[in-house]
């Protein structure tokens, strides 16, 4: 199958391509900051979707890879003077390595046990980093200002970081599409439907799940490094927020799990809603409650998410909306 001929591939990629390109062309700081946050969630939700959407395994503590990768990348960049690109990739690789070790052990667990284990791993990592000397223990690390100078000052460094995030997001989408349309991906979808039947049919479920877990952990590590480099500091409370982990799940659910476009719509929709609730005079005290209510209604009545719902309603569109 030639993926570059698929409209389902081009639509999401074109959206992100144009969006990032427009931000780079406009060159306004406020637009960049907003786009950074939203694109970051697009990339995080899409990489979680590779595991959640295709295999049906709920990783509740996926943010642990964002945190650990971010810490590693930040440490290499700020304390060891590595260039941003190398440090971010190193952060991603460390996340992938940890996912491999964890996956080999934890993915024997199924369903809810796996979900609980991922929460435990996130909390254990947070508690460990809070006590780990080289990572600054509970106070965290601050960026060494000389690190910015390599990129032509702090303001230019932020633009470089944004470009890198944009490219990472595109990479996540391409990888996600390739996984979904490969033989390997078919095996994953079989696991999602019925793991025992898939194994009988010759899918090596433990291996396939571990590889998927590694892929979906690699990108959050890169994104973590970029995010904390942009912020200029990293601390345990920011890096391992269970809350953010669940927001990622919500975005995938909102847009439609197992689809390429879904996580993009979900992330943009969720961030938009959150922004509206936080600034609206009526809802600002109740924003969490209102967001919870909307989430509940979606889970109860539109469990397939926005893209799933449209695909189901308008069959003709299902080729376009991957």
């Amino acid at each position: 199958m030639k993926f570059w001929r698929q409209p389902g591939f081009w639509l999401p990629v074109a959206i992100v391509l144009l969006w990032g390109g427009a931000v780079l062309a406009l060159r306004q700081d406020t637009i960049r900051e907003t786009a950074f946050t939203v694109l970051m969630f697009v990339a995080l939700a899409s990489s979680l979707n590779i595991l959640l959407g295709y295999t049906g395994y709920v990783s509740f503590g996926h943010i642990v890879f964002f945190g650990l990768g971010g810490y590693t990348g930040f440490y290499l960049l700020s304390e060891q003077g590595w260039p941003l690109y190398l440090a971010a990739v190193a952060g991603g690789l460390l996340s992938a390595l940890i996912a491999l070790l964890v996956g080999l052990a934890v993915l024997r667990l199924r369903g809810a046990y796996f979900a609980l284990a991922t929460i435990g791993i996130n909390e254990a990592a947070r508690a460990f980093v809070s006590n780990f000397g080289p990572f600054g223990a509970a106070t965290g690390l601050f960026v060494n200002f000389s690190a910015y100078e390599k990129y032509g000052g702090a303001s230019q460094a932020l633009w470089t970081t944004f470009t890198f995030l944009w490219l990472t997001t595109l990479a996540v989408l391409v990888v996600s599409f390739l996984v979904k349309h490969s033989r390997f991906g078919l095996g994953l979808l079989a696991i999602r439907e019925d793991e025992d039947a898939a194994m009988v049919m010759g899918v090596r479920a433990p291996r396939a799940k571990t590889i998927t877990y590694v892929i979906s952990a690699f990108f959050p590590g890169i994104i973590g490094t970029l995010y904390f480099f942009k912020n200029g500091n990293v601390e345990p409370g920011d890096a391992f927020q269970l809350h953010m982990s669940i927001e990622m799940l919500v975005m995938v659910m909102l847009g439609g799990m197992g689809t390429l476009l879904g996580p993009i719509l979900g992330a943009v929709g969720y961030q938009g809603l959150r922004g509206y609730l936080l600034t609206s005079p009526i809802f600002k005290d109740l924003h969490l409650a209102v967001a919870g209510l909307i989430l509940l209604l979606i889970i109860l009545f539109v469990p397939a998410g926005a893209v799933g719902w449209v695909r189901h309603r308008f069959r003709g569109l299902s080729r376009v909306l991957e």
Binding site: L52, G56, V58, F60, A105, V106, R108, L109, G111, A112, Y113, A115, L116, A117, I119, G120, I121, E123, A124, R126, A127, F128, S130, N131, A138, I246, L249, V250, M253, D285, L286, H287, L288, A289, V290, A291, G292, L293, L295, L296, I299, L300, P303
Partner: protein, 285 residues
């Protein structure tokens, strides 16, 4: 040194009983309907605030107030089950996890708007008693007594009453229980109610000796996960044992290493148990 360790161990074990009650609520819900209740923490916090409001505004003795809190917790459980859980009870785990999490967000959101997040406490000092070289605060002792009483009551209810037997039947095999004429939806709602009742009671007990905010339930919810897995998901007796183990650890660890390492050990142990013996120390339900 030795006496200091012994007294901090006793402290931890007494607290462990209360942890056990909270975890029992979680494990009961899991055992009956395979749902992990992510709204557990906020319900614990509501138990704290229920006790607090009854005490400060109506002057009700906190230990008497617990009975009211328990009834309120039971009713809240029915509401949560009907509104959020019933429709997704047969859906994949993700749905029930997110449905209960959305309840979590709603309660925290409303709670933050109403109570703000400044810490509260119940000013009801009862002094302490000395047994040998041990000095024990009376509030902790009473909390332990309360925890034991509620555990005993739950045991008697589950094993010697008709609704209790119905719950165990549904936990065992829902379809077979339905064929025997047990109204399974009602029984599921009742089990969910009992689970949230235990959470609210645990919250009420904790509020008598620790200050709290609406967000305080979170750590206890995480502890409940650890305890449930230690004792075996779905096994109430295991939850009590797991609570004692966790409480004991919290008492002992500070003697050997800085207090900040306690969660590292706890969650490390949690992951280890999940990997080596996912059915828990006593075996799952």
């Amino acid at each position: 040194m030795f006496s200091q360790m012994l007294s901090s161990l006793t402290d931890g074990l007494l607290l462990g009983f209360v942890y056990g009650v909270a975890a029992m609520g979680l494990t009961l819900i899991w055992g009956v309907m395979s749902v992990i209740n992510l709204a557990h923490g906020p319900v614990i916090a509501l138990g704290m605030f229920g006790t607090y409001l009854l005490f400060t505004h109506l002057g009700v003795n906190p230990y008497l107030g617990l009975v009211v809190v328990a009834v309120f917790g039971l009713a809240l459980g029915f509401v949560i089950y009907g509104a959020a859980v019933h429709r997704v009870i047969n859906a994949p785990h993700l749905s029930s996890l997110l449905a209960t999490f959305s309840v979590n967000m709603i309660i925290i959101g409303l709670g933050t708007a109403i109570f703000s997040t400044s810490p509260q406490n119940i000013d009801f000092p009862l002094g302490s008693v000395e047994i040998g070289f041990l000095t024990l605060p009376v509030t902790r002792l009473l909390a332990t007594v309360g925890a034991v009483l509620f555990t005993a009551a739950l045991y008697l209810f589950l094993y010697f009453t008709r609704p209790g037997k119905a719950i165990r039947a549904v936990a065992n095999n829902r379809r077979a229980a339905e064929l025997m004429g047990i109204p399974s939806s009602l029984v599921l709602a009742l089990s969910f109610g009992l689970g949230t009742m235990l959470a609210a009671v645990a919250g009420g007990l904790i509020s008598t000796f620790f200050p709290f905010t609406i967000l305080s339930g979170g750590p206890y919810e995480l502890k409940s996960f650890v305890i449930c897995v230690l004792g075996g998901l779905g096994n109430p007796l295991g939850a009590l044992l797991g609570g004692l183990i966790l409480g004991g650890l919290e008492g002992l660890i500070p003697a050997f290493m800085p207090v900040s390492w306690v969660p590292v050990v706890e969650f490390g142990l949690f992951v280890l148990v999940l990997l080596l013996r996912p059915s828990g120390l006593l075996g799952a339900k």
